[in-house]
């Protein structure tokens, strides 16, 4: 898959595969094109060339290039953002309920007449959202405004909101950015737990190497829009090409 901006090739023939239940990390120096890659997958950008295929658990295969972001989410891909993008003025619960939005059906008529099934759907949505918050460990904040949450909790709320859309692939864009070691450790546990209980695959972009090495089944390394290495954490750690990309020429020898 490739992505061009004007004359700049931000992502250059990147080829990446995630199997069911895997945790895959995408790493690389700043500006390597990782977030651009995310934006292409989730429909915010349309890739210039190449294909993105998904194989949802229900079976079948679907090409999702150029779909609108909300369609992509409906198909089961959910993401978080590098710079936190919560709905600041809404409560924690409401944030998660927005995630439920695409799984709910009630329309204008439902809103106005409030027939029993709309009422129960709303109640169910609130319940489900609360359960998700419990899993993430945010239930004590349930009625607080999102903007009043501590930083680490905001990051976790982004994950909760993404989970609410019932994804089979969760894309996390630097989930540990700005967290202290303790919070990072908790995040580590959380991600592993989510894979077990929620049955999701995870693709994450991360700079915290300790986290990446302990979590990932496989790692892809990008530099200048290209894939320069892939493999298990142990191999990547000692790959000279990767070390060169990160640290520069002189350290290789």
């Amino acid at each position: 898959m490739s992505m061009d901006f004007g004359g700049l090739r931000a992502v250059d023939r990147l080829d990446l595969m995630i199997h069911r239940g895997e945790i895959v990390a995408l790493i690389g120096p700043n500006g390597a094109g990782k977030t651009t890659f995310f934006n292409c997958i989730t429909g915010l950008y349309t890739p210039t060339e190449g294909d993105i295929h998904i194989h949802p658990p229900g079976g079948g295969s679907k090409r999702i290039n150029g779909l609108k972001p909300n369609r992509v989410t409906e198909l089961g891909l959910a993401r978080t953002f590098q710079n936190i993008r919560l709905f600041q003025q809404m409560t924690v619960l409401e944030n998660v309920m927005i995630g439920r939005h695409c799984r709910l059906r009630s329309g204008i008529a439902g809103a106005v007449f409030r027939p029993p099934h709309t009422v129960s759907e709303e109640r169910q949505a609130a319940m489900d959202s609360y359960r998700i918050l419990e899993k993430i460990g945010l239930e004590s904040f349930v009625n607080d405004l999102a903007k009043n949450l501590p930083y680490g909790a905001q990051r976790r709320l982004e994950i909760a909101r993404a989970l609410a859309t019932e994804p089979f692939l969760l894309l996390l864009d630097e989930p540990a950015a700005g967290m202290n070691p303790h919070e990072t450790h908790e995040l580590d546990q959380l991600i592993l737990r989510l894979r077990e209980t929620e049955n999701v695959s995870i693709l994450l972009i991360e700079h915290d190497m300790k986290l990446v090495m302990s979590l990932s089944d496989r790692i892809y390394v990008m530099d200048y829009g290209r894939k320069i290495a892939e493999g298990a954490p142990g191999r990547i750690k000692n790959d000279p090409v990767v070390i060169k990309a990160y640290l520069g020429e002189e350290y290789v020898a």
């Binding site: 977030t35 934006n39 950008y45 953002f81």
Partner: protein, 302 residues
């Protein structure tokens, strides 16, 4: 095809376009710096026309020669419009730095309403005849049936202003500060650019060119009222958007394109729907090419 008629429409469009360009500058520069559509910009133009008319009339009564009246009235219009632009920014926009865009836009609409009615109440709601200030140049007489000396003056003044403005933006310290502010206001502030001053200067320049346009067009058309700012403002805005809002050369190109299209449309097709035409033009551009002819297409950063 009648070539003479075509030439007339072409030059008429050029004149129109020049005026639109002078007004469009204010929109485009302000937008470039603070991303605000300054709704009240048309009113600044209208105030320029009124100031010009008032000063010109008083001076004529006092027995000044025509040329002196023209120069002094233009200067007064430019000075006053600039001051109004400056004050307006301080009252209606500066306290709203960092507020949601919707709030600033509503404040701008309020300012526009206020200025219109201020002139309406302090002056008159009737059309006032505007004296023809630009003298007929004697040596141009033989060609005057194709393009009047008034139109020549309008076109050349516009051209001069554009060249000067481009030089200012490219080569002066202030110009550099403006470009920096328009790219990233916070970063400019951190590197020591006095952003408030840059914004004020932008408003002053935009208002000054609008006032110049106002005096020229008013003396060309021959009448003004308190409402002229609205339609002129909308059309100049269309021009700015057409060229790519935020870009100074874009404003000129957009203004000329709009001027010509309007001129040919009314000349060859129908004059009933002249104003509707500008609106339709606007809607079509915004829907199909919101970045304009010379504008950069912006990709939202995620």
């Amino acid at each position: 095809m009648d070539l003479q008629y075509f030439a007339e429409l072409f030059l008429g469009g050029l004149t129109r376009g020049s005026i639109y360009a002078l007004i469009a500058l204010g929109y485009t520069m302000v937008y470039g710096i603070i991303e605000l559509i300054n709704f009240a910009h048309g009113e600044i133009y209208m105030i320029g026309a009124f100031t010009g008319l008032i000063v010109a009339t008083v001076l004529t009564f006092a027995g000044f020669p025509t040329l002196a009246v023209l120069v002094l009235a233009s200067v007064a219009a430019v000075v006053y419009s600039s001051c109004y632009g400056f004050t307006m920014e301080k009252i209606a926009y500066k306290p709203l730095r960092g507020a949601p865009r919707l709030s600033v836009l509503i404040s701008a609409i309020g300012m526009s309403l206020f200025l219109q009615n201020y002139v309406l109440l302090a002056q008159t709601s009737d059309f006032l005849p505007f004296p023809s200030l630009v003298p007929d140049l004697a040596f141009w007489e033989p060609y005057a049936h194709i393009i009047s000396s008034q139109e020549i003056v309008i076109i050349s003044v516009t051209a001069t202003v554009m060249v000067l403005l481009n030089l200012l933006i490219k080569f002066t310290r202030m110009g550099k500060a403006m470009r920096a502010t328009s790219q990233d206001r916070e970063m400019a502030m951190l590197t020591g650019v006095d952003v408030n001053r840059v914004i004020s200067v932008t408003f002053v320049i935009g208002s000054a060119t609008a006032a110049l346009g106002a005096v020229l067009i008013a003396s060309h058309i021959g009448q003004i009222n308190f409402y002229i700012g609205f339609i002129a403002g909308i059309k100049a805005f269309v021009a700015a958007v057409l060229g790519g809002i935020g870009s100074v050369p874009g404003a000129v190109v957009g203004a000329l394109v709009l001027g010509w299209t309007e001129s040919f449309f009314t000349g060859y097709i129908s004059s009933d729907y002249e104003d509707v035409f500008a609106f339709i033009f606007l809607v079509v551009i915004l829907i199909f090419k919101p970045s304009g002819i010379l504008g950069r297409s912006e990709t939202q950063k995620v």
